[in-house]
């Protein structure tokens, strides 16, 4: 892993018996001042993988319990089953005695085989023909300094006119874009503009996020589709698909979010 902010800020150190220590950085705060959930997932997934000696996660499922704060935290890892094909493990993220998040992830499982891809990448102009979807009124710090975003046109919400159609296609680039590890790919499923903004809902928090990690992307920009298909009773989904520049579907994720 090259020395990027991502690699520095998701590092953890082992302290025996499955315990690892890490520091949640202010460099991944959302514009609303929260520690980004994708960054938390990436830190947990990387730490858990290093603890069990695996770097090939295929699915990761995290539930958030309490808001995280910038600063020291502890990861408590446990291996559940080390099978011939799949290794599954869990990790809890703690701040003192407070449980912040719990992760279940499975590593391995890939083998040679047939390809079927039924979800083509969105037809987007190149990133340099796109615009930055983040309006000047939004505080550009943390996450927005780490992950560049580009959309064909400004999203309705960014012009003060939510479209009512919660689907946004665009591009993302993590830092220099030279290498996207599986934990970084997991982060990028939760870093883009939230589609429920297009429904006029700006205050939402992730309860649960499951990510499928299919392939290592080609370096560079990732095509990103975000969509909300359901919002009722203060709950909504948020779906993310990521394709690399070769059109390969490299990850997909779904969240259940709560309006706050």
């Amino acid at each position: 892993m090259t020395s990027t902010w991502f690699s520095r800020d998701t590092a953890s150190t082992p302290h025996g018996e499955g315990v690892r220590r890490l520091s949640l950085s202010e460099r991944w705060l959302t514009p609303f001042g929260k520690v980004n959930g994708g960054y938390i997932l990436a830190s947990m997934l990387r730490g858990l993988g290093e603890e069990i000696g695996r770097d090939d996660p295929v699915v990761a499922s995290v539930t958030f319990l309490s808001p995280a704060r910038v600063g020291e935290a502890e990861l408590r890892c446990r291996s559940l089953k080390k099978g011939r094909r799949i290794h599954t493990a869990q990790a809890d993220l703690m701040a003192g005695d407070k449980l912040l998040a719990t992760l279940t992830a499975s590593f391995g499982g890939r083998r040679e085989g047939q390809l079927y891809q039924g979800l083509p990448a969105p037809n987007l102009p190149s990133p340099d023909e796109c615009v930055d979807p983040i309006p000047d009124t939004m505080l550009r710090r943390g996450l927005l300094e780490r992950v560049a975003q580009a959309t064909p046109t400004p999203p309705g919400w960014s012009l003060g006119a939510p479209t009512g159609d919660p689907v946004i296609d665009g591009w993302q680039l993590l830092e220099d874009g030279t290498e996207v590890s599986p934990p970084a790919l997991a982060l990028l499923t939760d870093s883009f503009v939230s589609t429920c903004f297009e429904l006029g809902e700006y205050s939402t928090t992730t309860l649960q996020l499951t990510v499928h990690l299919y392939a290592a992307p080609a370096p560079g920009w990732l095509a990103t589709r975000m969509s909300t298909r359901y919002l009722e009773g203060g709950l909504h989904d948020e779906n993310c698909e990521l394709w690399d520049r070769d059109g390969v579907l490299v990850a997909q994720a779904r969240q259940l979010q709560l309006l706050t």
Copy 2:
């Protein structure tokens, strides 16, 4: 809950300190003789809910570790956080010392609010104008006796000619269909004909399944869309959306499956 096979076969009894005992029934075997994953999830989710006194799960995420067998099993439940809005808990399903599956589920969280539904129900003929998609060559036992299925036309795979297009729309009816509890809804996201059959892949097993439970369905048949969007390297997704007869999206789920 009325006394159906479902209610009998997903029951568990508390034995203190979060431990519940249950019996996995042969009445929910797949045509291939495996204990259905949706039935396992339903049993775990119901038991966990009863243990913490909640019947309103909104998201459930299960990872399967070892194949389950018909017979006695134990559920080990733990509450992770009982918040004002959300109660999150975990349960491990054990057969002796062997961990079969681990579940994280969150209960509560619904409140009054706006409705947006961006995913319309498939346009299907009524169930009595549909056909049974299960060919006579398939052993009709267990799950197939509990959940009726109906599709507009026979799926390609059932005629020995997989279409290569892994999307199947149809109807499902659990037993008498009078009541579908949230655990039963979870089961129905994993009970329908598998779409990877249409890719000529018949031997697959679920690694991970996350279900969003949005609403209690109106009684009766549920419209069901199954789809696979990715298959490579022995891994594939399988997506399920369920709508009630009023066209309300009541649940959606995604699995990561392994070709075996």
